[in-house]
């Protein structure tokens, strides 16, 4: 089912959480709402679910106006960051809840409910835990119960609010893969909120980058990473080196003249240039402008801190390449820029 958001605005006191947001969620896709805290991503998700009320705008679920509908009428599955399982109910009763509260006429029989719940618990690999209480499960297991519970109402849309936010790194990664696979199997239109760019880029079909109640960019993970539409998106997606510079004749020069960066023709005057650490090349050169001020090895990669005439930079390369270069802290080096993006100074 497709979701069409147009002109949604929401104000909390003097804080504008959403500012005339337009967004289309395509049927069957897995969409990520990515942004820092306070960017309005969770508010947008909660408005879609009917847990929050928009001040103005419209929301179409499958072409029908939905803002006036209660959460009950929208039939959306919602998964909370902190699971929100019913503590006094067993795993089984949690999953069965959505079916048991249906109006008498639409309520499945208890054998049908039992069959369906066990099927869902099978799907989330928790069939053995049906009689446990939420307090007896680990975080990852609880979140899978929450997912099974949300799927039990056969929702048209699945909305997930930071679904992996409360889990530790390893479980988060497993659950992420598992969710990706689940989505490939059942193809339900899904929207999830995250502040973790890696999560968004790995999991989503399309990523929506938000900032201060506005959408900065919508696109595939490769698109938003390779061709960020704004300085904010560039900075938010991954590590960056940032230079204040002035562009003239297609070249961006830093104030101290230590670096000149090729810029495309559209920008002129004061600007900001961004270079990803892995786009920064180094070579040993006794007369070079840079000095290696530190080297940190993280797994297979090495991060090299450079002091370029007072400007701190970070470069990244694999360890083998670093040992081939033979750079050590204190060495002088030359700096090459393979790729850069230049945005006009706001």
């Amino acid at each position: 089912m497709a979701i069409q958001v147009s002109g949604i605005t929401k104000q909390f006191g003097t804080f504008r959480a959403l500012d005339a947001v337009d967004l289309e969620v395509r049927s069957g896709e897995l969409l990520a709402l990515l942004g820092p805290s306070g960017s309005g991503k969770t508010t947008l998700l909660r408005i879609m679910a009917g847990l929050e009320f928009a001040d103005s705008g419209s929301l179409l679920l499958n072409g029908e106006e939905a803002l006036s509908l209660t959460p009950r009428e929208r039939q959306v599955g919602f998964v909370f960051q902190h699971y929100a399982l019913f503590r006094h109910m067993t795993v089984f009763d949690n999953v069965a809840f959505g079916m048991r509260v249906r109006p008498r006429g639409q309520r499945p029989t208890s054998t049908e409910i039992k069959r369906r719940v066990m099927e869902l618990l099978e799907l989330v690999q928790l069939a053995h835990f049906a009689d446990r209480f939420p307090a007896q499960l680990s975080g990852g297991q609880r979140q899978r119960v929450a997912l099974a519970r949300a799927l039990a109402i056969e929702p048209k849309v699945l909305l997930l609010d930071e679904p992996f936010g409360a889990l530790d790194a390893k479980v988060r990664k497993e659950l992420r893969r598992w969710l990706r696979k689940l989505h490939e199997d059942i193809h339900i239109t899904s929207v999830f909120v995250t502040h973790d760019q890696e999560e968004a880029l790995e999991l989503a079909d399309r990523v929506v980058v938000m900032s201060q109640g506005r959408i900065e960019q919508v696109g595939s993970p490769a698109e938003v990473y390779d061709r960020p539409a704004s300085a904010f998106v560039y900075e938010f997606l991954g590590q960056v080196n940032r230079f204040d510079c002035v562009v003239a004749d297609g070249v961006a020069r830093t104030a101290n003249g230590a670096l000149s960066i090729p810029a495309d023709g559209t920008v002129r005057g004061p600007a900001i240039a961004y270079v990803r650490p892995h786009d920064l090349g180094l070579s040993p050169c006794a007369a070079g402008p840079g000095r290696v001020s530190g080297i940190h090895v993280v797994g297979p990669d090495a991060r090299i801190e450079i002091d370029l005439a007072g400007l701190p930079l970070e470069a990244e390369m694999d360890r083998e390449r670093l040992s081939a270069l033979g750079l050590r802290p204190g060495d002088q080096c030359a700096v090459h820029i393979a790729r850069a993006r230049v945005f006009p100074q706001p």
Binding site: G50, T70, G77, A84, F86, R149
Partner: protein, 295 residues
């Protein structure tokens, strides 16, 4: 004296065999000290007087004890005290819950004042409460006269009056036990229920209420215990007709006035046992409910 010797036996052994059996390894310090203090304190303040009471009653002998308590007047007083305390606690459970709900869930002008009013039955001398209530509910009082006129209902100087007095003094217990739990209830659970298609009523009945039930039960037990022991407010409104509206505490006072100390002690012991059993049962019920979701 029994109590004093038990605490003596434990105290010098701090860290020794007695405690090491009771104690699980823990980094929290002060187990021996605090346990010793707790036992000594409880012995002096609670167990010693109760033991003295039992000792006094024991002076009657086994058959003398039962002769003293199994009289129609005493049994009727038990029925009045326990029956009406349970009824009043039940009324408080319902209305105290509603008061707590309103105080937590809604903001309205004067909500702080209402919140403070709830504690008044704690602070007011119970005799004052009793006199005020009997003045109001007496056949010529403000409320009593109306009830008499409209329904032909006599409240003051009947068991109904006792129930009203016990409800008055028991209200804060339910409100103050339910309030903090309701306050801390995460809104997500209700939101989850709504998103799963539950109506407001369904999410209250299936999600909110079960989470509050242990606290409600605690409030009920406290209000009940307070009601059983209440004296001051009841004697003014009860009419104190033996066999009809006479409560156990009053009966004990009457026995004391007749210099029947052993008889008074016997009734006291029986009352103590009955209360203890009921409270224990309520506590076990609660522990069972808690165990269902806290592991």
């Amino acid at each position: 004296m029994v109590a004093a010797t038990t605490s003596d036996a434990v105290l010098p052994n701090t860290g020794g065999t007695v405690l090491s059996v009771l104690r699980k390894p823990s980094v929290l310090p002060g187990f021996g000290l605090t346990l010793g203090f707790t036992l000594t304190y409880l012995s002096l303040i609670v167990l010693l007087p109760l033991a003295a009471l039992a000792l006094k009653a024991a002076g009657l002998g086994w058959s003398g004890f039962w002769d003293a308590v199994l009289t129609p007047r005493v049994l009727a007083a038990f029925k009045v005290s326990f029956g009406l305390s349970l009824a009043a606690a039940a009324v408080n459970a319902v209305f105290g819950f509603i008061v707590a709900w309103v105080l937590v869930r809604y903001r309205f002008p004067g909500d702080r004042i209402v919140d403070a009013l709830v504690d008044l039955p704690f602070a007011l001398p119970t005799a004052v409460a009793g006199i005020a209530l009997s003045a109001l509910y007496a056949p010529n009082g403000w409320i009593g006269s109306l009830l008499m006129e409209w329904f032909g209902l006599r409240v003051a100087f009947t068991p109904l009056g006792i129930a009203i007095a016990l409800t008055f003094i028991g209200l804060p217990f339910v409100v103050r036990t339910v309030q903090p739990i309701l306050q801390d209830l995460p809104p997500e659970e209700e939101e989850a229920a709504a998103a799963l298609g539950a109506t407001r009523w369904q999410s209250f009945r299936r999600v909110v209420f079960p989470a509050l039930l242990p606290a409600l039960l605690t409030g009920f037990a406290l209000a009940f215990a307070r009601g059983v022991g209440e004296y001051g407010s009841v004697i003014f409104i009860a009419g104190n007709i033996p066999g009809l509206s006479e409560i156990i505490p009053l009966l004990i006072v009457i026995k004391l006035e007749q210099y029947d100390y052993a008889g008074a002690a016997a009734v006291g012991v029986l009352m103590l046992m009955a209360s203890f059993m009921l409270l224990l049962a309520l506590n076990l019920l609660q522990a069972w409910m808690r165990s269902r979701h806290a592991r």
